[in-house]
């Protein structure tokens, strides 16, 4: 399958394996198409997880990862792409409704927006919170003190 995709998209896809697990790094511009192909032609009908990684030192700071599973093939694959800070990605809710909350969590934690998402807002943190905690530059003790003071009426949540 990977060979077929590689044949069709050439250098935009880099298939890799680590610890016996397959994943591919896909160029940002190919993402909408690849996800669609994986769902419709390769039977990856179950979107297991969507998550991201932050590498502040890189030019393309964020890596977004889709973990997909196919019931028919009993196979997992991870799709990975790199984007710069502030860049958005197309939402995969039309492909897998399961992506809804997963994409909201990525937005909440990393500040990566998904275009076309039906309800792009925070999910775990309250509305109006400033900052995205899973970014590497967000300290582990850091919090939105202003929000805490206004909404909880206490000096600090620490």
């Amino acid at each position: 399958m990977i060979a077929k995709l590689k044949g069709a998209y050439g250098s935009g896809i880099e298939p890799l394996t680590y610890a016996g697990q397959n994943y591919m790094v896909v160029d940002r511009s190919l993402i909408p198409e690849i996800l669609q192909v994986l769902r419709n032609e390769e039977q990856f009908d179950y979107c297991v997880d969507i998550t991201a990684l932050h590498y502040p030192a890189r030019e393309k700071q964020f890596e977004v990862i889709w973990v997909l599973y196919s019931f028919a093939r009993n196979e997992r694959i991870r799709v990975k792409t790199q984007i710069v800070d502030g860049e958005s990605l197309p939402s995969s809710v039309p492909i897998w409704p399961a992506a809804n909350w997963l994409e909201r969590e990525v937005y909440d934690m990393f500040g990566i927006k998904f275009d076309g998402h039906p309800d792009m807002k925070r999910i775990l943190l309250p509305e109006g919170w400033k900052g995205h905690p899973l970014r590497k530059d967000y300290g582990i003790l850091q919090q939105d003190n202003e929000w805490v003071q206004i909404n909880l009426g206490i000096e600090s949540g620490q």
């Binding site: 680590y18 610890a19 697990q21 994943y23 009908d45 179950y46 979107c47 297991v48 997880d49 998550t51 990684l53 990862i65 973990v67 019931f71 009993n74 997992r76 991870r78 809710v93 897998w96 409704p97 399961a98 809804n100 909350w101 997963l102 934690m109 039906p118 309800d119 807002k121 925070r122 999910i123 775990l124 943190l125 309250p126 509305e127 905690p133 899973l134 967000y138 582990i140």
Partner: protein, 383 residues
């Protein structure tokens, strides 16, 4: 109420015309509500008694587990995972330890694998018992709660004797087990199985043909297999909709491939079928534990793991069949003693997404039943 009562996700049509000639009613349920099994807030859109749609507001228990993971060593993070799904702490630990073992490329020795299977399956029974007790209580049957908690106690006693803790056990270590089993462990587990087998029949006697129970659960919160897959729903909910899929069989981990057991499935995907599936799962767990205790090998309980755990640069996604569904860990190592990123894919979080779809067209009282049947733990939803 804020503007958050707009329901836009899942483009489903709102059912028919309003039943009553009145505006739709928006009602808030929770976050402090005895039937939401934790701090879950649900915003209901009602037409009289009928649910038109709902939205979940979560995050009240958010503790930043994934962020904490980046600031602790691999060993130090191990007890934290127990605090996510705190009624199935052993499963969380198993998933985490196995993922790190994959990164390190080590495998726990056979004796450790067997003990892990025994403790994890005991945990599945304990988790299902707690689910049954509270779910039945929500629907109005008080008795099962006393029965299940009485029997769950026996499992907790085994845990307490094994590792000193009852709930957040921290039972496993990366590479195997910290503790050898205590004297008489096998005997006690076997005694439990003998004690427990007739108890499942007892639970079933209380509920399976109980008219009130059947009326309250049959055709309530129905979800099709197709919708389950589209929404990423796993575990007993998926199986009750007729999909014979269990990670223990599909992609065996630990040493589940050595044991003989079946995957119970339902047909209708309603609350009653999910109840039956979980009851059958308890019986299958008993079968697995029985085989594991009988074939418990001698030998070491720890693989050769360095004192300081420093996996090579790489990333691994590994998942196990937790009592609630697929529990996955995605760990990225940058070669240091702390993970670069720990992502937890919690089954409760993804399953809870289906609540909206399952409740549409049902009555308000059924929302309680559906929250119960999804078997969510808010500690895991919010992390």
């Amino acid at each position: 109420m804020t503007d958050s009562n707009t329901l836009s996700h899942l483009d489903l049509e709102t059912p028919e015309k309003p039943f009553l000639d009145a505006n739709e009613l928006v009602i808030n349920m929770g976050p402090q509500h005895p039937a939401t099994h934790g701090v879950l807030r649900v915003i209901l859109r009602l037409d009289g008694e009928k649910v038109l749609g709902l939205e979940c507001v979560i995050g009240y228990l958010h503790r930043g587990v994934e962020k904490i993971g980046e600031h602790r060593t691999y060993t130090m993070f191990n007890p934290y995972v127990d605090r996510m799904d705190y009624v199935a702490a052993v499963s969380n630990g198993l998933g985490y330890c196995e993922t790190v073992e994959k990164l390190l490329n080590v495998e726990a020795p056979p004796r450790a694998q067997h003990v892990r299977v025994i403790l994890t399956e005991l945990n599945r029974i304990a988790s299902h018992q707690l689910w049954l007790g509270t779910h039945a209580l929500d629907i109005g049957a008080i008795t099962p709660l006393f029965y299940t908690f009485r029997d769950r106690e026996e499992i907790l006693k085994i845990y307490e004797k094994y590792c000193g803790a009852r709930l957040t056990t921290h039972a496993f270590r990366i590479g195997g087990l910290q503790y050898e089993t205590y004297t008489g462990f096998e005997k006690e587990v076997q005694n439990f199985l003998t004690f427990f087998r007739p108890k499942i029949d007892e639970y079933e006697e209380l509920l399976t043909t109980n008219r009130i129970w059947v009326e309250r659960t049959r055709n309530v919160g129905t979800i099709s297999a197709q919708d389950c897959i589209a929404l990423g729903v796993t575990g007993p909910v998926l199986r009750a909709s007729g999909v014979k899929w269990d990670l223990r069989k599909a992609q065996p981990y630990a040493n589940y491939k050595n044991f003989d057991f079946e995957i119970p499935t339902g047909q209708n995907g309603d609350t009653y079928d999910r109840y039956l599936v979980r009851m059958a799962e308890m019986r299958q767990s008993v079968r697995i534990i029985e085989q594991a205790v009988e074939a418990l090998p001698e030998g070491p309980i720890m693989a050769k793991v360095p004192k300081v755990i420093k996996p090579p640069v790489g990333e691994v996604y590994h998942s196990i069949e937790a009592p609630k569904g697929e529990l996955g860990y995605f760990i990225v190592s940058d070669g240091s003693t702390q993970p670069y990123r720990v992502r937890v894919r919690p089954p409760s979080f993804v399953n809870l997404q289906a609540l909206d779809l399952m409740c549409r067209g049902q009555l308000v009282a059924d929302v309680i039943a559906v929250i119960g049947t999804l078997d969510i733990v808010l500690g895991e939803v919010d992390r």
